[in-house]
């Protein structure tokens, strides 16, 4: 181990500036969520008043609950579909149009959300689907499925094919070989994919606002409409809670991918 080079003053300054740029707004928000004052920009001492306010705000609680339900349901179904797609694309026989399929899988990653949201809205209107929980969930599943597929596919790609063959050689039929060998080895990537899908769904505003219906606003929609009427300190409290939740999930996801990399093969990207 050789000593890492010492940071120069310029390095330190740019690092501090960069971090400040990224995190100062968030830190300000977190601090102000503990503000006792009714005015957002005036400091009135520490207090948990706005957290209390939030937990008594029925509409906000409902929106949060809606968001969580959507996130869990859509992340779970996206993980299922995304994993299946990844397995089919990297393990199946070379079928016709496979390259096209892989390309199409990546397209939603770069598609502007407005377009995705609008096209889904058109679809739901055309099929006369009642807009609400399920339409948002379906929309989020389509959005996050490709992220899961990408994460799982890269893990599968780094996995040695002969492991599955060895399992078959030792008496497993193809399905059992997948369950006994491949699945445990890609599990960390699947978990990471789920967490990624969960956070993406939790903070999505654009697609949700296109596809939701009356009476089923998600938390970001709710917050956005509140803010338009003026920022209440309560919003800061909610945002702090969301940040805490997402930070927890991100830490979980990176732990999962670290676990995956410590099992010999290369890590899932995260």
């Amino acid at each position: 181990m050789h000593k890492p080079a010492r940071l120069s003053r310029f390095n330190i300054a740019s690092l501090a500036l960069g971090l400040a740029f990224l995190y100062l707004p968030i830190i300000v928000l977190v601090i102000f969520s503990f503000n006792a004052s009714r005015l957002v920009t005036v400091w009135g001492g520490w207090s948990l008043r706005w957290y209390h306010e939030f937990f008594n705000d029925r509409a906000m609680i409902e929106a949060s609950w809606m968001s969580l339900r959507v996130a869990v349901t859509s992340a779970t179904s996206a993980t299922l579909l995304g994993t299946l797609a990844a397995v089919a694309l990297s393990r199946g026989e070379r079928f016709r149009g496979r390259t096209l399929f892989s390309g199409m899988l990546y397209a939603p990653l770069v598609m502007p959300e407005v377009i995705t949201g609008l096209s889904l809205l058109l679809l739901f209107v055309a099929t006369n689907a009642a807009r609400g929980f399920w339409t948002v969930t379906i929309a989020h599943t389509t959005l996050t499925m490709c992220f899961v597929a990408v994460v799982v596919q890269s893990r599968l790609g780094s996995l040695d094919r002969s492991l599955e063959e060895a399992a078959m050689d030792l008496g497993c039929d193809p399905v059992r070989a997948f369950l006994a060998v491949t699945l445990p080895l890609i599990a960390p990537a699947i978990v990471a994919g789920w967490m990624l899908a969960f956070t993406l769904s939790l903070d999505d505003l654009v697609i949700a606002s296109f596809t939701t219906g009356p009476g089923s606003a998600t938390l970001p929609i709710r917050i956005y409409s509140e803010v338009r009427l003026g920022v209440k300190p309560e919003i800061n409290a909610i945002c702090t809670l969301v940040i805490a939740l997402i930070a927890l999930v991100i830490v979980g996801a990176s732990l999962a991918s670290k676990l995956s990399s410590s099992q010999g093969e290369s890590a899932a990207p995260l």
């Binding site: 492991l163 063959e165 060895a166 399992a167 078959m168 497993c172 039929d173 099992q263």
Partner: protein, 388 residues
């Protein structure tokens, strides 16, 4: 599809397959097996019998189809043509898990999430053996490959040699009728490879199991196998014992692939019993003994292994009663290899000849140096006559 293929036997004979009449039925009979990937014929009409208890090596350069053939035996590829008869039943279309055959993979393919014990027990659990039976067999295997004390380790906590042993134990645990080994020693360093070769042979003898090993390393094949099948471009070109393969290669290609060899191309000018007189371009007129009738006309090559050639100083060589080939030349290059020294001699007739001499004395004052005029001599019986 898997029926009788007309012309298979002829094709097999043409390919130079030795008809070894085995006592009783062979354990494995490969009959006219072919496999095509797209337009590439990876395995092209291979027929071969493997006897029970045999250590057989498939030898060939990379891309010759030996691994594809092995994968067809394991069940990872289905042959397009031909039959694979194991103990009389055609297994060509059976899935890998339905075959009493196990394989040791080139990169070992150990399950990284399972311990050594669970890796070895993996196949036994699928066979639905009783728990005590599994425990006994795993212990047996661990002792067999000398891995005691490492049962709880994960594969990434093992050295290359230990991983190789786990892979071997895992493949042997199900007591297969046939064990396939794909380049089993390729990932080990030279010293370890040599000791492992010995252990593999010892193990095979002790268990009386049938091994088929695929390798591109001819030394490995010669050391371990009782018979070697040489493959080139999807075809089995010769099946022979190591000695036959080295001393009596069937073709120019095999002669050059297995070991070093001097090849002199020429025309047959005269025949005297089993003595052939061949006029070569690079080495003048040579006399060679031909064990069998060369069928390919008069365009022939004389092949001599470097260690069959004796060197002596000009004018000092003793006269032999037996007919012998004497080629005048000058030493062009000397390569000291420890046990032997290789001399490259530029012949007066124009060609080059390589001679390999054992360094039997520690101090050799008579060693030849570059520029030394010498005579390279070899007996007609040490020549192999090959068709061009």
């Amino acid at each position: 599809m898997a029926g009788q293929l007309p012309g298979t036997d002829i094709a097999a004979e043409m390919a130079g397959v030795n008809a070894h009449p085995a006592a009783g039925q062979p354990l494995l009979r490969i009959e006219g097996v072919a496999k095509t990937f797209g337009t590439f014929r990876a395995v092209d009409g291979v027929s071969l019998d493997i006897r029970a208890g045999e250590f057989f090596a498939l030898l060939g350069p990379s891309g010759c189809g030996k691994t594809t053939l092995l994968r067809m035996l394991a069940g990872f590829e289905a042959p397009d043509e031909g039959r694979l008869l194991l103990g009389g039943t055609d297994i060509a279309q059976a899935l890998p898990h339905e075959r009493p055959i196990n394989m040791m993979f080139q990169n070992y393919a150990l399950f990284p999430h399972l311990s050594v014990r669970d890796n070895i027990a993996f196949g036994l659990k699928r066979a639905r053996l009783a728990r005590e039976e599994i425990a006994t067999r795993v212990a047996e295997m661990v002792a067999l490959v000398k891995l005691e004390g490492l049962e709880q380790r994960k594969p990434d906590q093992l050295s290359g040699g230990q991983r190789q042993r786990v892979a071997l134990a895992r493949a042997l645990a199900r007591r297969p009728q046939l064990l396939l080994l794909d380049e089993p020693l390729a990932a080990l360093d030279k010293k370890l490879r040599e000791s492992t070769q010995g252990e593999l042979m010892e193990l095979q003898r002790r268990l009386g199991m049938t091994f088929i090993v695929v390798t591109h390393d001819q030394e490995e094949a010669m050391t371990m196998a009782s018979r070697i099948g040489v493959m080139n471009a999807g075809k089995l070109v010769q099946v022979a014992t190591p000695r036959e393969l080295y001393e009596a290669p069937r073709s120019r290609w095999i002669a050059q692939f297995v070991g070093d060899i001097n090849l002199f191309d020429g025309e047959l000018t005269q025949r005297d019993g089993d003595r052939l007189v061949i006029a070569t371009g690079g080495a003048g007129t040579l006399i060679a003994a031909a064990a069998r009738e060369p069928a390919g006309g008069t365009r022939l090559s004389v092949a001599v292994r470097p260690e069959k050639i004796r060197l002596s100083r000009r004018g000092t060589e003793s006269e032999h009663a037996a007919p012998i080939n004497r080629l005048d030349g000058v030493v062009a290059d000397v390569c000291y290899l420890g046990g032997t020294t290789t001399y490259k001699v530029r012949l007066d007739a124009g060609g080059m000849v390589q001679a390999s001499l054992a360094n039997s004395a520690r101090r050799d004052a008579d060693a030849y140096g570059p520029g030394q005029p010498v005579v390279a001599a070899f007996a007609p019986d040490d020549c192999v006559v090959l068709e061009r």
